[in-house]
Symmetry: C2
Subunit: 325 residues, 2 copies
Amino acid sequence: MVCGEFELIARYFDRAAGSRRDVEKGIGDDCALLNVPEKQTLAISTDTLVEGIHFLRDIHPADLGYKALAANLSDLAAMGADPAWLTLALTLPQINEDWLRDFSDSLFELMDYFGVQLIGGDTTRGPLSMTLGIHGLIPTGRALKRSGARPGDWIYVTGTLGDSAAGLALLQHHQRLNDPVSNEALIKRHLRPMPRILQGQALRGLASAAIDISDGLLADLGHILKASDCGASLNLDALPISDTLQAHFSREQQISWALHGGEDYELCFTVPEVNRGALDVALSHSGVPYTCIGQMRAAAEGVTLLRDGQLVSSGKKGFDHFAGK
Amino acid sequence: MVCGEFELIARYFDRAAGSRRDVEKGIGDDCALLNVPEKQTLAISTDTLVEGIHFLRDIHPADLGYKALAANLSDLAAMGADPAWLTLALTLPQINEDWLRDFSDSLFELMDYFGVQLIGGDTTRGPLSMTLGIHGLIPTGRALKRSGARPGDWIYVTGTLGDSAAGLALLQHHQRLNDPVSNEALIKRHLRPMPRILQGQALRGLASAAIDISDGLLADLGHILKASDCGASLNLDALPISDTLQAHFSREQQISWALHGGEDYELCFTVPEVNRGALDVALSHSGVPYTCIGQMRAAAEGVTLLRDGQLVSSGKKGFDHFAGK
């Protein structure tokens, strides 16, 4: 892009709001300069979103700005980190000021909510895509990893599962539920997921392992099982399903979306028996429900899914992850 | 991409080589976990490269892997930082194993040379592009910024200028010099620039401001002038021009490329009179020449370019940056 275009874009992203004391130099030099406080560990995650693959072509830029950051923040939530700094590399096919305003306003609103400061990035011309680099801080030694679960630990999830997949299906098929409130609720769960930052922080020292549910419960729990070398038994009757999903879709559809639907951005975590009481204290004030859905097993026991007390199996991808272990 | 393709790609980038003690967790969890040593400040820079815009469509993947990282490292050099960790977000139109091997081998060779560890990233399907996030460390308070120059400080550059632009011109126009050694030398300067990491570190505490020359000397020095609120006088007769460039191109072409040609990835820096002796000690062992090309002036004096003792002006973009101040 020519120089003037860059300066135009920079206007939308160079905002004073949310300036943090640990940022010695933000945008405007060859590098940003950051001071990590003593006894804090830095957590970094990178996400790329490409039009037509990670988001629908007709998505509103305000929804895109929100969701790109929310998905990136969700990785910090899964580690129990406190969000701090963002880098944004944005590739745009052309300059559209309305688009830039809506996208950046929404992005900055969520950044401000979590105290995140934009510290740098890059703007280039090309097919619409973006790469976000989120940086968070965790008291040293207290990060939630995927690898700490042990047989006997209880498996939990925050919130409800499957709503985002339902919302996506409504958008993709241009369908509407006959109840507009339910319709909007499910679409909002897809477009505006709330990263479980506070819940992740509350789980430090209590959960033995954690992950965020971006690819579907079974696929993501599979990562915990692999990293922790465990099996698991899940009680499908315990899966937390929203009233909205229950009211409008078959039980089979609910369970399928809950197990395999992606982009819920809830946390899946494991808790040793000894910590269950403390867990109730820690999460009861977080404003989000949490549900025990199963228990970790020895790796040799593999994975079992129980429904109405009966063993069921699934041929879907997430289950294949399990079965392939 | 389907799961198997991701695992294929991961094989090329998940290498044990170069594991650093400050990396608590690299690739394989929701976030990487890094421990910044005490009294060190973190420096972060992000670069996006899009095919057809930042690199030629027929570039060899080994050259691309090298240059993408070299350009990113050059931003650390400009701050005087020690390279530490890299994130790589790679978007590929399809899986080509030969391409992946050549690209990643070359990338890892340069990472190993500078002790950099790959700590995460993302791989997606789409038009070829990549975003690199480089992280370096600097003793707190010793970073080289653009904003520290004062009138009277001397202006220096490392190495020689204009070679990269000459190499690009040869590649773009499919021309060859009649001397194959010169031909290869200029193309190599374009495809394989050496980031001036050691020189940047040697300048800590000596240079009052620094920047790397990615957009051309005049454009990049312009950033120092703006950030430091200064003017400058440059002696064009002092510009360091390689013997190769002198042997094959007109004096006008040499000066034009030296002033306006991009991607030299040399450092431009300013040094107060009192530090000039120490500078000679610090840089004399660095293996790269350095040249005084002018002096900082008060902002009110603007920018003057002198050639054969005469005032000259330039209508090119870099100079417009100056003139517009």
